[in-house]
Amino acid sequence: MITSPFDFVTARSAEQAVALLGEYGDDAKLLAGGHSLLPMMKVRLAAPAVLVDIGGIDELAYVRLDGDDVAVGATTRHAAVATSAVLREQVPLLAHAAGLVGDPQVRHRGTIGGSLAHADPAADLPVALSALGGRVVVQGPAGRREIGADDFFQGYFTTALAEDELIVEVRLARRPGQGWGYEKFTRRANDWAIVAAATVGGRVSLANMGSQPVRALSTEQALASGSGARDAAALAAEGTRPGEDMHGDAEYRRHLARVLTRRALASAGVAD
């Protein structure tokens, strides 16, 4: 429960963070809220030689309207996402999902950038981003680029981020008044999802049903061709490859995916 030795440097801006990443190469890891990285370091699943702390870059902590989008800065804490009036009106699915992350302490430390970069298939914000079809803005030595949610997640704890890039912003289309649903299934209030289903605008994504947030494409197709929620949800587990653990084997997870999808669709106003 004590980390391996490491050095610690503080970045004051995104540019400086990129420069530090360039300087230290793959010895370095970004540190934001520390609520995924530090536990891994304590159990020695991660042992970076240098931590580049970006948690204090305030210019990256914001939620603002930007044309047809809402832009959320990478170091915005989960609690700020959950309580943002702008998000609750324009992208309520994201705010709701952020409000279900862990417990209050976690929500006041963890950041949206950290959660997406960590890319835990069981986490709340990645699956919400996937259902929302959001985009991740990353900055590297060559400047900024934008990556769509479907391309961003690439497997267990793996993303399209290059080693010298950081997430600076998350962009989500404004959807005031549009129906949405989020069903997170846990045993205890502060747990990670055993399975979660998120839906908005005909897209359906599942957490913990594979190595990354998974789109329930058969369900989406069924919805697009006019199926009701019940029939469409029955297809939710198609093509998924859920893992197994103490909380559920693959069969149970597939079952949950179907039940939760139907409930999420019902919240979104899709008729049976």
């Binding site: 004590i2 159990v43 299934f185 045993r187």
Partner: protein, 761 residues
């Protein structure tokens, strides 16, 4: 007016809520100046022979002062089963010498200048393990296919009960139901993990600070492991952050810390991580039970049998004996005509088993209460009704339960009735019917458990007893020394109330001290819910005896006959009848000569608190998720000294009891790797998973002590666990489900529903 029976706020709380208590890990003491730190290298493998240990790489690691293995620790005791009937060939050295028998077993000691250096260094120890088959499944262990201790000839550590079961036990029964029930292994997981600080003085005596449940027992255990006389050991108990049975006595690690301090001639400290705690501290429960129950279709149970297979873990420690307590309480609250039980404890390649809140009694209640529901379901009768028909009628004279337990008094039917009434049982059943009729996805379940348990059992040294010393000081304050060992219960408040009530000294001016064996050489500690009924009774007795000593001195002082003196509690002074001005206070008397009394209270026997719990759950029949929506508890622990403290014990106990039914389980994979070695995986319960409990009052005083008090510390884990489990099964019984093992996780419940709908209830 007496403060006894009132909700006096805990005098301990300001400290814990502000500056914080002083726990062993953050203790500052001159004697520990220059302390170095111990880290244990632990076995990563469940069962293996040790071919060799190479520590050479460690010595160059930062801050390393010494490394020790079993080869160095030659002057300590070899541990054996605690009672003679336990196979004495199942021995344990403090550090594993030739074989490891569970993941987490200490293999080597690394001593470093700073605590953090130990973890890096311990990683560098190279142990050559030759893996042996893991033994996890209890039937596997019982089969003796792989022996943990070949020299013992068997994996069975001990058997309890008759060698032969009665094959005619169920002959007269119209209906017989039998079922294997898992009472799963759980982790005590106190907030404060294990810790120790030790230093040897120039006088050759050891001072050791160890969080414990009884300093005197810890001294005995530590001295025995170190092979020194107990008077060479002084134990000091700092604040203790929870124990739940697992901090009784001392563990090998504690002795090894003391050993290292002696070897190096300097103070040594150790605090374990949460990982180590979940693998290294003893676990609890861990029984595979087979219940068989039979009777008539009119609801009369004629015969009940309980067979227990107890998991001891890798070495036979306290857990090995616990099934004897389970057997002691076999028939519970019932008047069954024929009852029998037998148990067998087997070693497995897992963390050793110890005492855990209730220690053997919750297992007995869980078994019989599940059996009652199985029987009720089989004959199609309401489970409350079946219980009513079989409960022992109320009694006020001690009665033997046929298994050696002498119940002091009991009124089980009244407890059940009060619980059902408070729950609104009839309305709940009506709502259940309605929900089922309309096919509600959320099924309602109602679970009942009646219990009787044993508290304040006799010590090995004879009848149950405890000592207390009460001293009044010249400034009018008082000090109490107690042989009990508070670690969250609020003895400080309770003991002060008792003395205050006798002596007229305000509660805030009374200091309660415990847990320093030089100051208090004798004591039984806190466990088995014994403290108030013995330790509290001793405080009261000492206070009363002190008044008598003071009365004689006051008579001399005032030059009157002692019989003319009246003790005025409001003034904490003796006055002379009819003479207003003539008075002498206890403080005045203490100013002339030390005023103190040590008293020993001895009880005629153990007491048997009882009660009934009703749990209401909602089960999502599509996902299997269970929500505990209500828990109604009648817990009769005799006269209640302070309802605030008693309610606190009930709240914590019920939550822990519900947690076993709903969530908690220590899990190993087939190779013996623990899958629940951190709080990310071990699902302890939090406040968000339980409702506010509905506590119903019932107080039947015992005659076994002048306070009328029985124990309350473990009632929650005894009543709540089966009530919640029964409620979960009840919720889905209309779907054909008859039993669901704990923890009733969503997946388990869902599978039970699916399997019943496929016709395999």
């Amino acid at each position: 007016m007496s403060i006894l029976g009132t909700r006096v706020l805990r005098t301990e709380d300001p400290k814990f809520m502000t500056t914080g208590g002083v726990y062993t890990e953050d203790l500052v003491d001159e004697r520990l100046t220059g302390a170095v730190y111990v880290t244990f290298a632990r076995s990563p493998i469940a069962h293996a022979r040790i071919n060799g240990i190479d520590t050479s790489a460690v010595r160059d690691s930062d801050g390393v002062l010494a490394v020790f293995t079993a080869a160095d620790v030659t002057d300590t005791a070899t541990l054996r089963g605690m009672t003679r009937d336990i196979n004495q060939e199942m021995t344990q050295t403090l550090l594993a010498s030739d074989t490891v028998r569970y993941v987490g077993e200490p293999v080597a000691i690394v001593v470093t200048e700073q605590a953090y250096q130990g973890e890096d260094a311990a990683d560098l120890i190279d142990v050559d393990y030759d893996p042996l088959p893991a033994v996890i499944d209890l039937h596997d262990a019982e089969s003796d296919k792989t022996l943990l201790f070949p020299e013992a000839g068997s994996n069975t550590a001990v058997r309890y009960g008759p060698p032969q079961l009665d094959e005619h036990l169920f002959d007269d029964c119209e209906v017989v139901v039998s079922r294997e029930i898992v009472n799963q292994r759980v982790a005590p997981a106190p907030m404060e993990s294990r810790s120790a600080a030790a230093v040897w003085g120039e006088d050759g005596r050891l001072v050791a600070w160890i969080p414990n449940q009884g300093a005197q027992g810890t001294r005995a255990a530590l001295a025995a492991m170190l092979k020194v006389s107990p008077d060479k050991v002084r134990i000091i108990t700092p604040d203790v952050g929870g124990a739940f049975g697992a901090k009784f006595g001392a563990d090998p690690e504690h002795a090894l810390v003391a050993w290292t301090a002696r070897r190096l001639g300097r103070p040594v400290r150790w605090s374990e991580t949460r990982y180590e705690n979940l693998m290294g501290m003893t676990h609890g429960r861990g029984q595979l039970q087979t219940v068989t129950i039979g009777g008539r279709r009119d609801g009369t149970v004629l015969a009940y049998r309980l067979e227990v297979l107890q998991d001891c873990g890798g070495y036979p420690r306290i857990g090995t004996l616990l099934p004897s307590l389970t057997l002691l309480m076999t028939p519970g609250t019932y008047a069954f005509a024929k009852v029998e039980s037998a148990a067998r404890s087997v070693v497995t390649t897992t963390t050793p088993m110890g005492a855990y809140r209730g220690a053997g009694r919750p297992e007995a209640t869980a078994a019989v209460e599940r059996a009652m529901d199985l029987f009720a379901a089989e004959i199609g009768m309401d489970p409350a009704e079946v219980r009513r028909r079989n409960l022992l009628p109320a009694f006020t004279e001690p009665r033997n339960n046929g298994f050696g337990a002498l119940y002091d008094s009991g009124d089980y039917a009244t407890a059940l009735d009060r619980a059902l009434e408070a729950a609104g049982y009839g309305r709940l059943r009506a709502e259940q019917v309605e929900r089922r009729a309309r096919g509600d996805v959320k099924a309602l379940g109602i679970g009942i458990a009646c219990y009787v348990e044993i508290t304040g059992a006799g010590a090995e040294s004879g009848d149950p007893h405890e000592n207390a010393t009460v001293e009044v000081h010249p400034d009018g304050s008082a000090t109490i020394l107690t042989g009990t060992s508070p670690h969250g219960q609020g003895h400080g408040t309770a003991w002060a109330m008792l003395a205050s009530d006798e002596l007229g000294i305000p509660v805030e001016r009374i200091t309660v001290r415990h847990g320093d064996t030089d100051l208090i050489p004798e004591g039984g500690g806190t466990g088995g819910s014994r403290s108030l009924q013995q330790g509290g009774a001793a405080v009261r007795q000492a206070s009363q005896e002190l008044l008598e000593v003071a009365r004689d001195r006051a008579a001399d002082e005032l030059e009157v006959d002692a019989r003319d003196l009246r003790f005025d509690v409001d003034r904490s002074a003796f006055t002379v009848a009819g003479v207003q001005q003539a008075a002498v206070s206890l403080a005045d008397l203490a100013g002339k000569e030390r005023l103190f009394v040590r008293a020993v209270f001895t009880a005629p026997g153990a007491t048997f608190p009882f009660g009934a719990h009703v749990a209401v759950v909602e089960v999502d029949t599509e996902t299997g998720k269970v929500e505990l929506s209500r828990l109604i508890a009648v817990d009769d622990a005799g006269t209640i000294l302070n309802p605030l403290l008693a309610d606190g014990q009930r709240h914590g106990g019920i939550a822990q009891g519900a947690a076993q039914a709903l969530l908690e389980e220590v899990v190993y994979d087939a190779d013996g790797n623990p899958l629940t070695a951190s709080f990310a995986d071990y699902p302890f319960l939090s406040a968000t998973e339980v409702p506010s409990f509905e506590l119903v009052d019932m107080q039947t005083p015992t005659t076994y002590n002048p306070l009328g008090a029985k124990g309350i510390g473990e009632a929650g884990t005894i009543g709540a666990t089966p009530a919640v489990q029964n409620a979960v099964v009840d919720a889905v019984s209309h779907l054909g489900v008859r039993h669901i093992d704990m923890p009733t996780s969503p997946q388990t419940v869902w599978r039970a529903i699916v399997s019943a709908s496929e016709g395999n209830a």
